[in-house]
């Protein structure tokens, strides 16, 4: 069948599966916004430049968390199941299945980011034009790509049991050290030293470039490099799983 019909079919069952797991979806969608209210709101409500910076950082946090979980944990749990073995006998290319996963994670990530944006709009003097918001949405999707690949790598290199703690640790450590929770200049000195080289920091820089407080070029170059690294890790993990399970 045409690739588009299959992409839609696989995206639909992933969405149905998510929609019927409100115990997973609701906390995941609300968590970044809740963190934002608890930690950054007291500062963000004072000044619009602080509101802009913190909101954009939490949008990155929302996208990173969802993609790492959707891919890392999702793949690790599903790849050993009988259903996975069955789906491999259906006439569908692996690209359509990954495509469906990417679409699902991106839409879910944007929804989570939108909750952060709505909370910020309601409670802080955030000051972004419509054009800036649209650029933010576009950058949020681009910046999510290396994290999608990182999630796939985690999914293929870890067991179903290990995936949750490893995805959580990667998410929280990278978010903290990348300056997504607090301004990078407030981080401990040794963290400040590594922070500029982390993918989360580059993602934040990319979003901050919308208000002119960071360079988009440098961030994009760094994220492109991470995209290559994580793509290699993901492809090797995928092939390793193929060899052991379907040799």
């Amino acid at each position: 069948m045409s690739a588009l019909i299959l992409l839609r079919a696989h995206t639909r069952i992933q969405f149905l599966d998510l929609l019927r797991s409100p115990g997973y979806v609701v906390p995941t969608v609300i968590f970044p916004a809740m963190f934002y209210v608890l930690f950054d709101l007291p500062f963000a409500r004072m000044r619009s430049d602080v509101a802009n910076a913190t909101t954009l950082a939490f949008i990155a946090f929302a996208i990173v968390g969802v993609t790492l979980y959707q891919f890392g944990v999702g793949i690790a749990q599903e790849r050993g199941r009988p259903w996975e073995r069955y789906v491999r006998t259906l006439p569908v290319a692996i690209a359509a299945r990954f495509g469906a996963r990417i679409v699902t994670a991106m839409l879910f990530g944007l929804l989570t980011a939108a909750v952060v944006a709505i909370v910020a709009r309601a409670l802080t003097p955030i000051d972004l034009s419509l054009a800036q918001w649209l650029t933010v949405a576009f950058y949020a999707l681009c910046g999510g790509i290396p994290f999608v690949l990182m999630g796939i790598a985690i999914g293929y290199w870890t067991s179903a049991r290990a995936a949750v703690p490893i995805a959580t640790a990667c998410n929280l450590l990278l978010a903290f050290a990348g300056g997504l929770w607090m301004p990078p200049q407030d981080l401990p000195a040794f963290v400040q030293a590594v922070s500029p080289y982390l993918p989360t920091r580059m993602f934040a820089d990319l979003l901050w470039s919308v208000t002119g407080s960071a360079s988009a070029e440098r961030a994009l170059a760094g994220l492109a490099a991470y995209t290559v690294i994580f793509a290699i890790a993901a492809a090797r993990g995928y092939r390793r799983d193929e060899r052991t399970r379907y040799a």
Binding site: M1, R85, Y86, P91, Y246
Partner: protein
């Protein structure tokens, strides 16, 4: 030609799963691959479906490699274990699978044929074992494929559910080629036009069910005689019963049963010597 195995060998670390297995399935045949657990059925099937490669020999599905995604449009398969995504409804899973095929069966007809109409809106996580097996077999047919592969279709079902599922498979399978694996001799004889018996990765028998019955000619006959229960294994039950009646001896609870698969294997391997 639907499926062709040429001298196929496959080893896992330390064990040899298949040894020079050769057979061919032609259009319209219903072939049962029969063997005990560990005989190599699952390995043979996984190689036929492109889930695994082989170490030696060659396999052709519709004249090409089983790893070719496009030819799977002509192939329908049952999930071996009933591990469906448990949040999805029966009709959603059927629709999802049907969307992969160019000319699928109508979902409502498939639901009706497999007795799933009243379960259409149930989530798969709440199905009983028998209902799950019916859904699993329905998934192999919903794409309306030329070639259907049923991997142990009735495992875990009671006798009555098993017979009912056989009826459905016979009806829905008309005009298709079918390969099924089973470890029930009775199932192979009920469904197949041709039976392949494998054990230890080798083909022990290839022929129609009558030929297998002749090869495995013995029946087990039990009854309660005056001195207690009697068990007789004989190739000619008719003659034995006639003699028993003529002798005028008192007996009750006469039963004649098929040899077990193990007995069949003994006679097959014995015959090969």
């Amino acid at each position: 030609m639907i499926l062709r195995f040429d001298d196929v060998g496959k080893s896992y670390v330390g064990t040899r799963a298949l040894e020079a297995l050769s057979f061919q399935i032609d259009r319209g045949e219903i072939v049962a691959l029969l063997g005990p657990n560990g005989a190599g059925k699952t390995t043979a099937l996984e190689i036929a479906l492109g889930l695994r490669g082989c170490d030696r020999g060659s396999v052709q599905l519709f004249g090409t490699s089983p790893r070719n995604v496009a030819i799977r449009r002509r192939l329908g398969v049952t999930p071996q274990e009933s591990g469906f995504p448990d949040m999805l409804r029966v009709e959603e899973i059927l629709t999802f699978v049907a969307e992969h095929y160019p000319a699928p069966a109508a979902i409502s007809e498939t639901l009706a044929a497999f007795g799933l109409t009243s379960l259409a809106r149930r989530r798969t996580g709440t199905l009983s074992q028998g209902e799950s097996r019916r859904l699993a077999v329905a998934l192999a047919f919903v794409g309306n494929p030329e070639f259907v592969v049923l991997d142990e279709p009735t495992t875990g079902l009671d006798v009555e559910s098993r017979r009912r599922l056989w009826d459905v498979v016979r009806r829905t399978g008309a005009g298709r080629s079918i390969l099924l694996t089973t470890h029930h001799l009775e199932e192979a004889q009920a469904l197949a036009t041709r039976i392949l018996v494998i054990d230890c990765g080798r083909l022990l028998f290839d022929g129609d069910p009558d030929a297998l019955r002749r090869r495995v000619g013995t029946r087990r006959l039990t009854y309660l005689g005056t001195d207690g229960p009697v068990v007789v294994t004989t190739a000619n039950t008719d003659e034995y019963v006639r003699d028993l009646v003529d002798s005028g001896a008192d007996f009750s609870n006469l039963e004649i049963s098929q040899p077990s698969l193990e007995e069949a294997f003994l006679s097959l391997t014995g015959g090969a010597k």
